[in-house]
Protein backbone atom coordinates (compact mmCIF):
# COMPACT_ATOMS: atom_id res chain seq x y z
CA UNK A 1 0.00 0.00 0.00
CA UNK A 2 2.76 2.43 0.91
CA UNK A 3 6.50 2.88 1.35
CA UNK A 4 7.85 5.14 4.03
CA UNK A 5 11.46 6.24 4.37
CA UNK A 6 12.41 8.30 7.42
CA UNK A 7 15.14 10.94 7.25
CA UNK A 8 15.29 10.63 3.50
CA UNK A 9 17.03 14.02 3.19
CA UNK A 10 19.26 16.18 5.38
CA UNK A 11 17.99 19.25 7.24
CA UNK A 12 19.76 21.71 4.93
CA UNK A 13 17.94 20.32 1.89
CA UNK A 14 14.57 20.35 3.65
CA UNK A 15 15.08 24.02 4.57
CA UNK A 16 16.05 24.80 0.98
CA UNK A 17 12.83 23.25 -0.31
CA UNK A 18 10.70 25.10 2.21
CA UNK A 19 12.38 28.40 1.40
CA UNK A 20 11.87 27.75 -2.30
CA UNK A 21 8.17 27.16 -1.77
CA UNK A 22 7.40 30.00 0.60
CA UNK A 23 9.36 32.62 -1.30
CA UNK A 24 7.99 31.57 -4.68
CA UNK A 25 6.04 34.23 -6.57
CA UNK A 26 3.39 31.56 -7.15
CA UNK A 27 2.85 30.93 -3.43
CA UNK A 28 -0.62 31.77 -2.16
CA UNK A 29 -3.92 30.15 -1.30
CA UNK A 30 -3.94 26.63 -2.63
CA UNK A 31 -5.36 26.19 -6.16
CA UNK A 32 -6.44 22.62 -5.33
CA UNK A 33 -10.05 21.54 -4.85
CA UNK A 34 -12.47 22.45 -2.08
CA UNK A 35 -11.23 19.47 -0.03
CA UNK A 36 -8.12 21.50 0.70
CA UNK A 37 -9.29 23.75 3.51
CA UNK A 38 -7.14 26.74 4.48
CA UNK A 39 -4.03 25.36 2.82
CA UNK A 40 -1.44 27.29 0.87
CA UNK A 41 0.70 26.42 -2.10
CA UNK A 42 0.68 26.18 -5.87
CA UNK A 43 0.85 23.43 -8.48
CA UNK A 44 3.37 22.51 -11.14
CA UNK A 45 2.07 20.33 -13.93
CA UNK A 46 4.33 18.86 -16.59
CA UNK A 47 5.27 15.90 -18.73
CA UNK A 48 8.59 14.12 -18.52
CA UNK A 49 9.79 15.85 -21.67
CA UNK A 50 9.66 19.16 -19.76
CA UNK A 51 11.49 17.87 -16.67
CA UNK A 52 14.68 19.78 -17.49
CA UNK A 53 12.69 22.99 -17.93
CA UNK A 54 10.89 22.41 -14.62
CA UNK A 55 14.18 21.85 -12.79
CA UNK A 56 15.74 24.97 -14.25
CA UNK A 57 12.86 26.93 -12.73
CA UNK A 58 12.43 24.92 -9.51
CA UNK A 59 15.97 23.63 -8.96
CA UNK A 60 15.30 22.83 -5.31
CA UNK A 61 12.99 19.99 -6.38
CA UNK A 62 15.75 18.05 -8.17
CA UNK A 63 17.00 15.83 -5.29
CA UNK A 64 13.42 14.99 -4.30
CA UNK A 65 12.40 14.08 -7.83
CA UNK A 66 15.60 12.12 -8.38
CA UNK A 67 14.67 9.89 -5.44
CA UNK A 68 10.95 9.69 -6.07
CA UNK A 69 10.21 9.45 -9.79
CA UNK A 70 9.65 6.14 -11.53
CA UNK A 71 11.16 5.74 -14.98
CA UNK A 72 7.75 4.59 -16.17
CA UNK A 73 6.02 7.80 -15.02
CA UNK A 74 5.60 10.28 -17.85
CA UNK A 75 3.38 13.03 -16.41
CA UNK A 76 3.33 14.79 -13.05
CA UNK A 77 1.42 17.16 -10.80
CA UNK A 78 3.52 18.62 -8.03
CA UNK A 79 1.71 20.35 -5.21
CA UNK A 80 3.72 22.12 -2.51
CA UNK A 81 1.33 22.30 0.43
CA UNK A 82 1.63 24.42 3.55
CA UNK A 83 -0.74 23.78 6.44
CA UNK A 84 -1.14 25.79 9.65
CA UNK A 85 -3.65 25.89 12.49
CA UNK A 86 -7.15 24.77 11.32
CA UNK A 87 -5.92 23.58 7.93
CA UNK A 88 -7.21 20.20 6.84
CA UNK A 89 -7.67 18.11 3.73
CA UNK A 90 -10.99 16.30 3.42
CA UNK A 91 -11.31 12.81 1.99
CA UNK A 92 -10.60 12.62 -1.72
CA UNK A 93 -8.88 10.67 -4.47
CA UNK A 94 -6.36 12.66 -6.46
CA UNK A 95 -7.90 13.05 -9.86
CA UNK A 96 -7.32 15.37 -12.83
CA UNK A 97 -9.50 16.25 -15.76
CA UNK A 98 -7.92 16.23 -19.19
CA UNK A 99 -10.11 18.81 -20.87
CA UNK A 100 -9.39 17.93 -24.49
CA UNK A 101 -10.16 14.25 -24.01
CA UNK A 102 -12.79 14.88 -21.32
CA UNK A 103 -11.18 12.09 -19.33
CA UNK A 104 -10.45 11.94 -15.64
CA UNK A 105 -7.10 10.45 -14.73
CA UNK A 106 -5.94 9.05 -11.42
CA UNK A 107 -2.24 8.97 -10.56
CA UNK A 108 -0.40 5.66 -10.45
CA UNK A 109 1.58 6.70 -7.43
CA UNK A 110 1.66 9.59 -4.99
CA UNK A 111 4.97 10.59 -3.42
CA UNK A 112 5.17 13.06 -0.54
CA UNK A 113 8.20 14.73 0.95
CA UNK A 114 7.58 16.17 4.42
CA UNK A 115 9.93 19.10 4.80
CA UNK A 116 8.55 20.33 8.11
CA UNK A 117 6.31 18.66 10.68
CA UNK A 118 6.71 20.66 13.84
CA UNK A 119 6.40 18.93 17.18
CA UNK A 120 3.97 21.60 18.41
CA UNK A 121 1.46 20.65 15.78
CA UNK A 122 -1.36 18.34 16.74
CA UNK A 123 -3.57 16.51 14.31
CA UNK A 124 -2.39 16.48 10.73
CA UNK A 125 -2.29 12.70 10.50
CA UNK A 126 -2.60 11.26 7.01
CA UNK A 127 -5.44 8.75 6.74
CA UNK A 128 -5.25 6.23 3.90
CA UNK A 129 -8.49 4.36 3.29
CA UNK A 130 -7.32 1.00 2.00
CA UNK A 131 -10.79 -0.54 1.70
CA UNK A 132 -14.25 -0.27 3.24
CA UNK A 133 -13.10 -1.56 6.62
CA UNK A 134 -9.46 -0.51 6.80
CA UNK A 135 -7.93 2.91 7.29
CA UNK A 136 -4.21 3.30 7.88
CA UNK A 137 -3.18 6.31 9.98
CA UNK A 138 0.28 7.75 9.40
CA UNK A 139 1.86 10.45 11.54
CA UNK A 140 4.42 12.14 9.29
CA UNK A 141 7.73 13.40 10.60
CA UNK A 142 10.15 15.95 9.19
CA UNK A 143 12.25 14.33 6.47
CA UNK A 144 9.82 11.48 5.70
CA UNK A 145 9.48 10.39 2.10
CA UNK A 146 6.21 8.55 1.58
CA UNK A 147 4.84 6.78 -1.48
CA UNK A 148 1.37 5.30 -1.74
CA UNK A 149 -0.80 3.95 -4.52
CA UNK A 150 -2.57 6.71 -6.37
CA UNK A 151 -6.15 5.48 -6.20
CA UNK A 152 -6.46 5.45 -2.42
CA UNK A 153 -9.03 7.67 -0.75
CA UNK A 154 -7.10 9.83 1.67
CA UNK A 155 -7.40 12.83 3.95
CA UNK A 156 -5.39 14.90 6.40
CA UNK A 157 -6.82 15.55 9.85
CA UNK A 158 -7.24 19.16 10.92
CA UNK A 159 -4.05 20.70 12.20
CA UNK A 160 -4.25 22.29 15.63
CA UNK A 161 -1.70 24.20 17.67
CA UNK A 162 0.93 26.63 16.51
CA UNK A 163 3.48 25.86 13.85
CA UNK A 164 3.50 24.75 10.26
CA UNK A 165 3.33 21.55 8.30
CA UNK A 166 5.11 21.83 4.94
CA UNK A 167 5.19 19.07 2.37
CA UNK A 168 5.52 18.52 -1.37
CA UNK A 169 3.12 16.11 -3.05
CA UNK A 170 4.06 14.58 -6.39
CA UNK A 171 1.37 12.77 -8.35
CA UNK A 172 2.99 10.39 -10.84
CA UNK A 173 1.11 9.26 -13.95
CA UNK A 174 1.94 6.60 -16.51
CA UNK A 175 -0.22 7.74 -19.41
CA UNK A 176 -0.76 6.23 -22.84
CA UNK A 177 0.54 8.23 -25.82
CA UNK A 178 -2.98 9.51 -26.59
CA UNK A 179 -3.65 10.82 -23.11
CA UNK A 180 -0.16 12.22 -22.80
CA UNK A 181 -0.86 14.51 -25.77
CA UNK A 182 -3.67 16.15 -23.79
CA UNK A 183 -1.58 16.59 -20.67
CA UNK A 184 -0.08 20.07 -20.16
CA UNK A 185 3.59 20.09 -21.14
CA UNK A 186 4.46 22.55 -18.41
CA UNK A 187 2.33 24.96 -16.45
CA UNK A 188 2.29 26.51 -13.01
CA UNK A 189 -1.12 26.84 -11.42
CA UNK A 190 -2.08 29.29 -8.70
CA UNK A 191 -5.33 30.19 -7.01
CA UNK A 192 -5.68 33.11 -9.45
CA UNK A 193 -4.91 30.96 -12.46
CA UNK A 194 -5.94 27.40 -11.62
CA UNK A 195 -6.68 26.02 -15.09
CA UNK A 196 -3.91 23.95 -16.65
CA UNK A 197 -3.06 24.88 -20.21
CA UNK A 198 -1.42 22.69 -22.79
CA UNK A 199 1.55 24.81 -23.72
Amino acid sequence: MYHLTSQAFDEAYLQRVEKGIRTSPYYGDSPLGEEFVRTKGFSIVFTRSALEQVLSKFAYLAPFLEKALFASSNAFYINPLVMGATSRVDTHVDCRLLLEENVRIIPNLISILYTRCEDDIQGGNLLLKVDKETTITLTPKTGDLLHFQGDLLHSVEEVTGEGLRVNVVCEQYNLSEDLLKSFPKFAVLTNEDPAPRVS
Binding site: M1, N108, T134
Partner: protein, 261 residues
Protein backbone atom coordinates in the same frame (compact mmCIF):
# COMPACT_ATOMS: atom_id res chain seq x y z
CA UNK B 1 2.66 -3.17 17.18
CA UNK B 2 5.44 -3.44 14.62
CA UNK B 3 4.45 -3.37 10.98
CA UNK B 4 4.96 -7.02 9.95
CA UNK B 5 2.68 -8.71 12.46
CA UNK B 6 0.24 -5.79 12.07
CA UNK B 7 0.01 -6.52 8.32
CA UNK B 8 -0.42 -10.26 8.85
CA UNK B 9 -3.04 -9.89 11.55
CA UNK B 10 -4.93 -7.28 9.55
CA UNK B 11 -5.04 -9.66 6.58
CA UNK B 12 -6.34 -12.49 8.78
CA UNK B 13 -9.00 -10.25 10.26
CA UNK B 14 -10.06 -8.98 6.86
CA UNK B 15 -10.49 -12.52 5.54
CA UNK B 16 -12.30 -13.74 8.66
CA UNK B 17 -9.99 -16.43 9.90
CA UNK B 18 -11.74 -16.51 13.24
CA UNK B 19 -10.34 -16.72 16.72
CA UNK B 20 -6.56 -17.10 16.64
CA UNK B 21 -5.61 -15.30 19.83
CA UNK B 22 -2.76 -17.61 20.87
CA UNK B 23 -1.22 -17.43 17.40
CA UNK B 24 -1.60 -13.63 17.40
CA UNK B 25 0.24 -13.35 20.72
CA UNK B 26 3.01 -15.64 19.53
CA UNK B 27 3.44 -13.81 16.24
CA UNK B 28 3.52 -10.34 17.82
CA UNK B 29 5.95 -11.57 20.48
CA UNK B 30 8.38 -13.01 17.94
CA UNK B 31 8.31 -9.98 15.63
CA UNK B 32 8.73 -7.56 18.51
CA UNK B 33 11.88 -9.39 19.56
CA UNK B 34 13.25 -10.28 16.12
CA UNK B 35 12.15 -7.52 13.76
CA UNK B 36 12.35 -8.94 10.23
CA UNK B 37 14.45 -6.97 7.73
CA UNK B 38 11.38 -6.49 5.52
CA UNK B 39 9.81 -4.56 8.42
CA UNK B 40 12.80 -2.23 8.68
CA UNK B 41 13.18 1.21 7.12
CA UNK B 42 16.44 0.39 5.37
CA UNK B 43 14.87 -2.58 3.59
CA UNK B 44 11.93 -0.53 2.36
CA UNK B 45 14.20 2.34 1.28
CA UNK B 46 16.55 0.11 -0.71
CA UNK B 47 13.70 -1.94 -2.17
CA UNK B 48 12.03 1.23 -3.38
CA UNK B 49 15.28 2.59 -4.78
CA UNK B 50 15.83 -0.56 -6.82
CA UNK B 51 12.28 -1.20 -7.93
CA UNK B 52 12.21 2.17 -9.71
CA UNK B 53 14.67 0.66 -12.17
CA UNK B 54 12.60 -1.04 -14.91
CA UNK B 55 15.29 -3.66 -15.60
CA UNK B 56 15.51 -4.64 -11.95
CA UNK B 57 11.73 -4.67 -11.63
CA UNK B 58 11.36 -6.95 -14.67
CA UNK B 59 14.00 -9.32 -13.31
CA UNK B 60 12.26 -9.31 -9.91
CA UNK B 61 9.01 -10.44 -11.57
CA UNK B 62 10.84 -13.22 -13.44
CA UNK B 63 12.48 -14.30 -10.20
CA UNK B 64 9.10 -14.30 -8.43
CA UNK B 65 7.65 -16.47 -11.21
CA UNK B 66 10.54 -18.88 -10.71
CA UNK B 67 10.30 -19.01 -6.90
CA UNK B 68 6.53 -19.48 -6.91
CA UNK B 69 6.81 -22.29 -9.47
CA UNK B 70 9.57 -24.04 -7.53
CA UNK B 71 7.64 -23.69 -4.30
CA UNK B 72 4.50 -25.13 -5.97
CA UNK B 73 6.35 -28.30 -6.93
CA UNK B 74 7.91 -28.75 -3.50
CA UNK B 75 4.62 -28.22 -1.69
CA UNK B 76 2.81 -30.63 -3.99
CA UNK B 77 5.33 -33.36 -3.29
CA UNK B 78 5.34 -32.64 0.42
CA UNK B 79 1.52 -32.75 0.65
CA UNK B 80 1.52 -36.38 -0.48
CA UNK B 81 3.52 -37.35 2.61
CA UNK B 82 1.50 -35.55 5.28
CA UNK B 83 -0.53 -37.95 7.44
CA UNK B 84 -3.11 -35.33 8.50
CA UNK B 85 -5.41 -35.49 5.47
CA UNK B 86 -7.09 -32.15 6.13
CA UNK B 87 -3.77 -30.35 6.46
CA UNK B 88 -2.43 -32.22 3.41
CA UNK B 89 -5.39 -30.94 1.36
CA UNK B 90 -4.65 -27.40 2.49
CA UNK B 91 -1.03 -27.78 1.39
CA UNK B 92 -2.16 -29.13 -2.00
CA UNK B 93 -4.39 -26.11 -2.43
CA UNK B 94 -1.48 -23.91 -1.41
CA UNK B 95 0.67 -25.61 -4.08
CA UNK B 96 -2.00 -24.95 -6.73
CA UNK B 97 -2.06 -21.29 -5.66
CA UNK B 98 1.72 -21.02 -5.98
CA UNK B 99 1.59 -22.53 -9.48
CA UNK B 100 -1.07 -19.97 -10.43
CA UNK B 101 1.02 -17.18 -8.90
CA UNK B 102 3.96 -18.24 -11.01
CA UNK B 103 1.80 -17.81 -14.11
CA UNK B 104 0.52 -14.45 -12.86
CA UNK B 105 4.05 -13.14 -12.36
CA UNK B 106 4.98 -14.39 -15.84
CA UNK B 107 2.00 -12.53 -17.28
CA UNK B 108 3.02 -9.38 -15.43
CA UNK B 109 6.45 -9.45 -17.06
CA UNK B 110 5.08 -9.84 -20.57
CA UNK B 111 2.24 -7.37 -20.12
CA UNK B 112 4.24 -4.57 -18.49
CA UNK B 113 7.33 -5.10 -20.63
CA UNK B 114 6.03 -6.07 -24.08
CA UNK B 115 9.49 -5.48 -25.55
CA UNK B 116 10.66 -8.56 -23.61
CA UNK B 117 7.94 -10.75 -25.11
CA UNK B 118 10.13 -13.09 -27.14
CA UNK B 119 10.06 -16.82 -27.69
CA UNK B 120 13.05 -17.51 -25.45
CA UNK B 121 11.64 -15.72 -22.42
CA UNK B 122 8.16 -17.18 -22.95
CA UNK B 123 9.62 -20.68 -22.97
CA UNK B 124 11.65 -19.97 -19.83
CA UNK B 125 8.62 -18.57 -18.04
CA UNK B 126 6.46 -21.51 -19.12
CA UNK B 127 9.06 -23.90 -17.76
CA UNK B 128 8.96 -22.13 -14.39
CA UNK B 129 5.24 -22.75 -13.86
CA UNK B 130 4.47 -26.41 -13.15
CA UNK B 131 1.24 -27.91 -14.46
CA UNK B 132 -0.29 -29.50 -11.38
CA UNK B 133 -3.37 -31.72 -11.60
CA UNK B 134 -6.44 -30.08 -10.05
CA UNK B 135 -6.83 -33.03 -7.71
CA UNK B 136 -4.43 -35.60 -6.37
CA UNK B 137 -5.14 -38.86 -4.60
CA UNK B 138 -4.51 -38.87 -0.89
CA UNK B 139 -1.14 -40.09 0.32
CA UNK B 140 -0.80 -43.85 0.54
CA UNK B 141 -0.04 -45.42 3.91
CA UNK B 142 3.56 -46.09 2.81
CA UNK B 143 4.25 -42.50 1.80
CA UNK B 144 2.79 -40.97 4.96
CA UNK B 145 5.51 -40.03 7.33
CA UNK B 146 6.49 -37.42 9.88
CA UNK B 147 5.74 -37.00 13.55
CA UNK B 148 3.30 -34.36 14.72
CA UNK B 149 6.25 -32.14 15.70
CA UNK B 150 7.67 -32.38 12.19
CA UNK B 151 4.35 -31.39 10.64
CA UNK B 152 4.06 -28.58 13.16
CA UNK B 153 7.54 -27.35 12.23
CA UNK B 154 6.45 -27.31 8.59
CA UNK B 155 3.33 -25.32 9.48
CA UNK B 156 5.44 -22.77 11.38
CA UNK B 157 7.96 -22.47 8.56
CA UNK B 158 5.23 -22.08 5.96
CA UNK B 159 3.53 -19.52 8.13
CA UNK B 160 6.50 -17.21 8.62
CA UNK B 161 7.45 -17.50 4.93
CA UNK B 162 3.91 -16.57 3.93
CA UNK B 163 3.97 -13.57 6.27
CA UNK B 164 7.12 -12.47 4.46
CA UNK B 165 5.40 -13.07 1.11
CA UNK B 166 2.46 -10.90 2.17
CA UNK B 167 4.71 -8.03 3.24
CA UNK B 168 6.67 -8.27 -0.02
CA UNK B 169 3.40 -8.11 -1.98
CA UNK B 170 2.33 -5.02 -0.07
CA UNK B 171 5.66 -3.43 -0.96
CA UNK B 172 5.27 -4.55 -4.57
CA UNK B 173 1.70 -3.27 -5.00
CA UNK B 174 2.29 0.51 -5.32
CA UNK B 175 5.34 -0.09 -7.51
CA UNK B 176 3.50 -2.49 -9.81
CA UNK B 177 0.68 0.02 -10.22
CA UNK B 178 3.24 2.71 -10.97
CA UNK B 179 4.33 0.63 -13.98
CA UNK B 180 0.76 0.10 -15.26
CA UNK B 181 -0.57 2.24 -18.09
CA UNK B 182 -4.20 3.36 -17.58
CA UNK B 183 -5.47 0.38 -19.57
CA UNK B 184 -3.59 -1.99 -17.24
CA UNK B 185 -4.59 -0.36 -13.96
CA UNK B 186 -7.69 -2.39 -13.11
CA UNK B 187 -5.96 -5.58 -14.22
CA UNK B 188 -2.99 -4.73 -11.96
CA UNK B 189 -5.27 -4.09 -8.98
CA UNK B 190 -7.20 -7.33 -9.55
CA UNK B 191 -4.02 -9.39 -9.78
CA UNK B 192 -2.65 -7.84 -6.60
CA UNK B 193 -5.94 -8.47 -4.76
CA UNK B 194 -5.88 -12.13 -5.79
CA UNK B 195 -2.28 -12.53 -4.70
CA UNK B 196 -2.82 -10.82 -1.35
CA UNK B 197 -6.01 -12.81 -0.62
CA UNK B 198 -4.16 -16.05 -1.41
CA UNK B 199 -1.27 -15.16 0.88
CA UNK B 200 -3.77 -14.30 3.62
CA UNK B 201 -5.31 -17.76 3.14
CA UNK B 202 -1.90 -19.41 3.40
CA UNK B 203 -1.16 -17.54 6.60
CA UNK B 204 -4.68 -18.41 7.77
CA UNK B 205 -4.63 -22.19 7.38
CA UNK B 206 -1.17 -22.53 8.91
CA UNK B 207 -2.14 -20.13 11.71
CA UNK B 208 -5.17 -22.30 12.53
CA UNK B 209 -2.97 -25.39 12.71
CA UNK B 210 -0.47 -23.57 14.94
CA UNK B 211 -3.20 -22.08 17.13
CA UNK B 212 -4.83 -25.48 17.68
CA UNK B 213 -1.49 -27.08 18.54
CA UNK B 214 -0.65 -24.24 20.93
CA UNK B 215 -4.01 -24.71 22.66
CA UNK B 216 -3.15 -28.40 23.12
CA UNK B 217 0.08 -28.07 25.02
CA UNK B 218 2.52 -27.01 22.30
CA UNK B 219 2.65 -23.28 23.03
CA UNK B 220 6.15 -23.25 24.44
CA UNK B 221 7.42 -25.58 21.68
CA UNK B 222 5.90 -23.29 19.03
CA UNK B 223 7.31 -20.15 20.60
CA UNK B 224 10.84 -21.61 20.59
CA UNK B 225 10.52 -22.94 17.03
CA UNK B 226 9.09 -19.67 15.70
CA UNK B 227 11.94 -17.77 17.29
CA UNK B 228 14.60 -20.10 15.80
CA UNK B 229 13.03 -20.11 12.34
CA UNK B 230 12.42 -16.37 12.28
CA UNK B 231 15.98 -15.65 13.38
CA UNK B 232 17.28 -17.87 10.57
CA UNK B 233 14.92 -16.28 8.04
CA UNK B 234 16.04 -12.83 9.15
CA UNK B 235 19.71 -13.76 8.63
CA UNK B 236 18.94 -15.08 5.15
CA UNK B 237 16.84 -12.02 4.28
CA UNK B 238 19.61 -9.62 5.34
CA UNK B 239 22.15 -11.52 3.22
CA UNK B 240 19.78 -11.53 0.26
CA UNK B 241 19.28 -7.79 0.59
CA UNK B 242 23.02 -7.15 0.83
CA UNK B 243 23.72 -9.29 -2.26
CA UNK B 244 20.87 -7.69 -4.19
CA UNK B 245 22.05 -4.16 -3.37
CA UNK B 246 25.65 -4.97 -4.35
CA UNK B 247 24.54 -6.54 -7.62
CA UNK B 248 22.14 -3.69 -8.34
CA UNK B 249 24.77 -0.99 -7.70
CA UNK B 250 27.40 -2.79 -9.78
CA UNK B 251 24.95 -3.20 -12.64
CA UNK B 252 23.89 0.43 -12.34
CA UNK B 253 27.52 1.58 -12.37
CA UNK B 254 28.22 -0.55 -15.45
CA UNK B 255 25.10 0.84 -17.05
CA UNK B 256 26.05 4.43 -16.24
CA UNK B 257 29.57 3.80 -17.58
CA UNK B 258 28.10 2.49 -20.82
CA UNK B 259 25.92 5.57 -21.16
CA UNK B 260 28.82 7.94 -20.53
CA UNK B 261 31.07 6.19 -23.04
Amino acid sequence: MEIVSAMALRALEKHNYGELSIYQDLLSGIYNTHIPPYGEQIFQREYFRMIRDPGWFASLLVSDADIEGYSAGRLWTYASTVPDTHFAKEIQRHALDEARHSKLFSRMVLRLFPSLDEKDLREKLDAMSPELPPDTPEASEESRRGSFEEILNSAILLNIYEVKALVMLELLRPALLAYCEPSDQSWGKRVMSVLVADEARHIGYTARFINAAAANGYRSYISDAMEDFQRALNDVSWLELEDTITEFDETSEEFEALIKR
